[in-house]
C-alpha cells in the first residue's frame, strides 16, 4: 500500500527515468560493450561516458531553456548564441594575448548580452517570445560569421583544451562544469525564492504583479541566464573541436533542448519546471543519438528511429495514457465489485 502511494506520488519523476533506463538497456542488448566502462590513462572510458560527455552542451542549454519556459517563454536563439560565443572565444584566443579567463569572460558576457537583447524584446517591447528570439536565431549566425569572417577559426589553448576534452577525477572536466552549473542553478532556484517567483510569473503574470513581483525584470533575467548557459555551451563546443564553426555549431540544438524540457514534464504554457528531470530528458536524447551511432545503422535511418522512439516515450509518459490504463484496471475492479454485489444506498427525495 505504502509502495503504491510512493509510485503514485512520483509518477511524474519516474516516467522519464524509466524511459532512460529502458533505452540504455535495449541499446546494450543490441550493441555489446555498450555498458562497459574501463580506465584508460587515468580516466573512465566507454560509451556511457561518451553520452555524459556529449550531453553537456545540450544539458547546459536545456537548463537555461527550462527557466525561460518556466516564465511562459521560449528561446529559439540559443543555437545562434552558441555560435557567437564560440566565435568570440576563438577570435580572441587567436588575435589577442589576453589571458584565457578574460577570453572566457568575454564570451560569457557576449552570451549574456544576447540574452539581454532577447529579454528586452520580450519584456519591454512585449514581443511574443517565439518571434523575438527568432530574430536573433536568424541574425545570430550572421553575427558569428562576421566575427569569424566566414572561416572556421582554429585555436590552441591548454585551458580551453582541458575544458573541451580534459579529465578531472576520472570524469571529463566539462561534465564537472555542467554538474556545477546544474547544482548551482538548482540551489539558486530552490533555496532562494527565485524559482517560486519564476513559476508564479509563468503561471499567472497578473496575479504575480498584484503581489508585488516585478515580472519584467524576472523575465529579462531568465533570458540573460539562458544566454549565459548557451555561451558556456558555445565555449565547450568550440573547445571540443578547437575551432569556431559559426555555421554549424549548435545547429538545431534549441529543438533538442526544448524537447528535453518537455520530456521532463514541463508545460510550454509556463508554470512548473523540473530542472533535474530536464537533465534526464537531455540524457534520453543523447543516449538515443549515441546508440544510433554505435549500432551501425545506416545514416538515413537515424531520424526515423529517433522520431519513433521519442514519440513512443512521449506517448508512454502522457498523463492521458496513464489515466486510460488506470481507468481500464479500475473498470476491471469495478466489474468484479458489481459481480460480488454492491448494495444501493437508496434514498428517496423528501417531498413535502
Amino acid at each position: 500500500m505504502k509502495k503504491n502511494n510512493f509510485l503514485h506520488k512520483h509518477q511524474k519523476t519516474l516516467a522519464p527515468l524509466l524511459s532512460l533506463v529502458l533505452i540504455i538497456l535495449i541499446t546494450a542488448s543490441v550493441t555489446p560493450g555498450f555498458l562497459s566502462i574501463r580506465m584508460v590513462d587515468g580516466h573512465l572510458f566507454g560509451s556511457l561516458l561518451d553520452i555524459l560527455h556529449r550531453a553537456t552542451p545540450t544539458a547546459l542549454v536545456a537548463l537555461g531553456m527550462a527557466v525561460v519556459i518556466g516564465t511562459r517563454g521560449i528561446d529559439l536563439s540559443v543555437g545562434a548564441v552558441i555560435a557567437i560565443s564560440g566565435a568570440v572565444t576563438a577570435v580572441l584566443t587567436v588575435n589577442t594575448d589576453w589571458p584565457v579567463w578574460v577570453v572566457i569572460l568575454c564570451a560569457l558576457g557576449t552570451g549574456m548580452l544576447c540574452g539581454l537583447w532577447n529579454g528586452i524584446l520580450v519584456s519591454v517591447f512585449n514581443i511574443q517570445p517565439i518571434v523575438a528570439t527568432l530574430i536573433l536565431m536568424v541574425a545570430g549566425r550572421g553575427i558569428a560569421q562576421m566575427i569569424t569572417e566566414g572561416q572556421i577559426v582554429t585555436f590552441h589553448s591548454d585551458v580551453l583544451d582541458a575544458i573541451g576534452n580534459g579529465y578531472f577525477l576520472a570524469f571529463p572536466i566539462r561534465v564537472w562544469i555542467a554538474i556545477g552549473m546544474i547544482v548551482l542553478t538548482v540551489l539558486v532556484m530552490r533555496k532562494t525564492a527565485l524559482g517560486l517567483f519564476i513559476e508564479a510569473v509563468g503561471a499567472n503574470v497578473r496575479a504575480s504583479r498584484l503581489v508585488g513581483i516585478e515580472a519584467r525584470l524576472l523575465v529579462l533575467s531568465a533570458y540573460v541566464f539562458s544566454g549565459l548557459c548557451a555561451a558556456m555551451s558555445g565555449i565547450i563546443l568550440a573547445a571540443d573541436i578547437r575551432g569556431a564553426d559559426a555555421n554549424n555549431a549548435g545547429l538545431w540544438l534549441e529543438l533538442d533542448a526544448i524537447l528535453a524540457v518537455v520530456l521532463a514534464g514541463a508545460s510550454l504554457a509556463g508554470g512548473r519546471i523540473y530542472l533535474l528531470l530536464t537533465i534526464v530528458g537531455v540524457l534520453i536524447i543523447q543516449t538515443l543519438t549515441t546508440a544510433i551511432l554505435t549500432s551501425g545503422l545506416p545514416a538515413q535511418y537515424n531520424l526515423v528511429v529517433k522520431a519513433t522512439i521519442i514519440l513512443a516515450v512521449l506517448l508512454v509518459q502522457s498523463p492521458k495514457t496513464r489515466q486510460w490504463l488506470s481507468d481500464f484496471f479500475m473498470k476491471k475492479k469495478h466489474a468484479e465489485n458489481s459481480r460480488t454485489g454492491n448494495p444501493d444506498t437508496g434514498k428517496g427525495s423528501i417531498e413535502p
Binding site: 529559439l76 524584446l121 517591447f125 512585449n126 514581443i127 511574443q128 517565439i130 518571434v131 523575438a132 527568432l134 530574430i135 536573433l136 536565431m137 536568424v138 541574425a139 545570430g140 549566425r141 550572421g142 553575427i143 558569428a144 560569421q145 562576421m146 566566414g150 529543438l255 526544448i258 524537447l259 518537455v262 508545460s267 510550454l268 538515413q300 535511418y301 537515424n302 531520424l303 526515423v304 528511429v305 529517433k306 522520431a307 519513433t308 521519442i310 514519440l311 512521449l314 506517448l315 502522457s318 498523463p319 492521458k320 495514457t321
Partner: protein, 322 residues
C-alpha cells in the same frame, strides 16, 4: 472605423506597400510586373504552407512538421511517378491523401494524448524527413510531360510579368483558406478554440474533432505545398524545404495573427509571405551583401517590421482612445 481586430493586418498591408514602393523607387527593374509575378510564383509554396499554419496557430497550436512534409511528399510523388510509372494526377492524389493522413495522426496524438503540439510536430518533423531519406536519398528529376506542362501554363500580364499556374494555384488555395476560415463552422471552431478552448468545449465546439481536422488541414496544405514545390522545381529532393516551418510561422505572425491564437486572418498570412519575399528580392537586387550581412539584414528587417507593426497598433489604439 478601424476595428481593433483589423489593426495588425492593416499595419502589414502598409508595410508591404512601403517596402514595394521603396523597391520601385530604388531599382528600375523593380517597376516591372515581372517582379510582382515572381513574388507570387516564388513564394507560392511558402504561402500555401503558411495558410495551413495559420489555422494551426489560430487554434493556439503550432506545426513544426511542415517543411519535412513538403520534402517527404515531393519524394513520395517522384517515387510514384518515376519508379511505378503512375500518372502524376494519381500520384498527386495519393501524396495528398498521405499528407492529410499523417496530419490527422498528429492531430489524434495532440487531441487524445494531450501532448503539446510543439513536441508532437517536432517528432513529426524528424519522422517525415527520415521517411523521405528512406524512400530516396538522391535528388530525383520528375520530367513527366504533365508536370512540365503544368509549369508552362501562363497568363501574361502587361510588362514582362505573368501569372503562372503555381501562382494561380496558390491564389485558389488562398481563397479556399479564406472561405474555410471565415465562412464555415470549422473555421469558426478554430477561432473559438484559439480564443478559449475551455469555453469552446462548453459552447458545443467538438474540440477533439476540430483539433484533428486542423492538423489534417495543415497536412493537406503542406502536402499541397510539396506538390507545388515539385512542380516548381520539376524534381524531388529529401533535403528540400529545411527550416520552412520557421519561415511559415514568421509569415503568419507578420501577417498579424497572434501566436496565442484566436485572432488573425488568412489574408494577413498571404501578405506576411509576400513581405518575406520582398525582403529577399530587395537583398538580391542590392547584391552587395555578403553571406553574413544577408542574415543580419533578414533579422534586422524582421525586427524592424515587428516593431513597426507594434508601433502602428499602439499608435492607433492611443489615437482612438483620445
Amino acid at each position: 472605423m478601424i476595428n481593433e481586430r483589423n489593426l495588425p493586418i492593416l499595419a502589414t498591408l502598409l508595410v508591404f506597400i512601403l517596402l514595394y514602393g521603396f523597391g520601385m523607387y530604388e531599382y528600375k527593374g523593380f517597376r516591372d510586373t515581372l517582379v510582382f509575378s515572381n513574388l507570387l510564383t516564388d513564394n507560392a509554396f511558402l504561402i500555401i504552407t503558411a495558410i495551413g499554419m495559420t489555422f494551426v496557430i489560430l487554434s493556439g497550436g503550432i506545426d513544426l512538421s511542415v517543411g519535412s512534409m513538403i520534402a517527404f511528399i515531393g519524394v513520395l510523388m517522384a517515387y510514384l511517378i518515376t519508379s511505378t510509372g503512375m500518372h502524376p494526377l494519381f500520384a498527386i492524389g495519393i501524396a495528398l491523401v498521405v499528407g492529410v493522413a499523417f496530419g490527422a495522426i498528429m492531430g489524434v496524438i495532440i487531441a487524445f494524448f494531450e501532448i503539446q503540439a510543439f513536441i508532437v510536430t517536432l517528432a513529426g518533423m524528424f519522422l517525415f524527413r527520415g521517411l523521405a531519406y528512406l524512400i530516396n536519398l538522391d535528388a530525383v528529376p520528375i520530367d513527366h510531360p504533365f508536370i512540365t506542362g503544368l509549369y508552362d501554363i501562363y497568363v501574361p500580364l502587361p510588362g514582362r510579368g505573368g501569372l503562372t499556374f503555381i501562382a494561380m494555384a496558390m491564389l485558389v488555395l488562398l481563397a479556399l483558406g479564406i472561405l474555410l476560415a471565415r465562412r464555415t463552422r470549422f473555421g469558426m471552431s478554430v477561432y473559438a478554440l484559439g480564443g478559449d478552448s475551455h469555453s469552446a468545449a462548453l459552447l458545443g465546439v467538438p474540440v477533439k474533432k476540430t483539433i484533428i481536422k486542423i492538423y489534417a488541414l495543415s497536412g493537406f496544405y503542406s502536402a499541397m505545398s510539396g506538390v507545388i514545390f515539385a512542380i516548381y522545381t520539376g524534381s524531388a529532393y529529401p533535403l528540400a524545404a529545411v527550416g520552412v516551418e520557421l519561415d511559415a510561422i514568421a509569415a503568419v505572425v507578420i501577417g498579424g495573427t497572434l501566436l496565442t491564437g484566436g485572432v488573425g486572418y488568412v489574408f494577413g498570412t498571404f501578405l506576411g509571405g509576400m513581405i518575406q519575399g520582398i525582403i529577399q528580392t530587395l537583398i538580391t537586387f542590392d547584391g552587395s551583401l555578403n553571406s553574413w550581412w544577408t542574415k543580419l539584414a533578414v533579422g534586422g528587417l524582421l525586427l524592424f517590421f515587428i516593431l513597426l507593426q507594434k508601433g502602428i497598433v499602439v499608435w492607433v489604439k492611443k489615437r482612438s482612445a483620445a
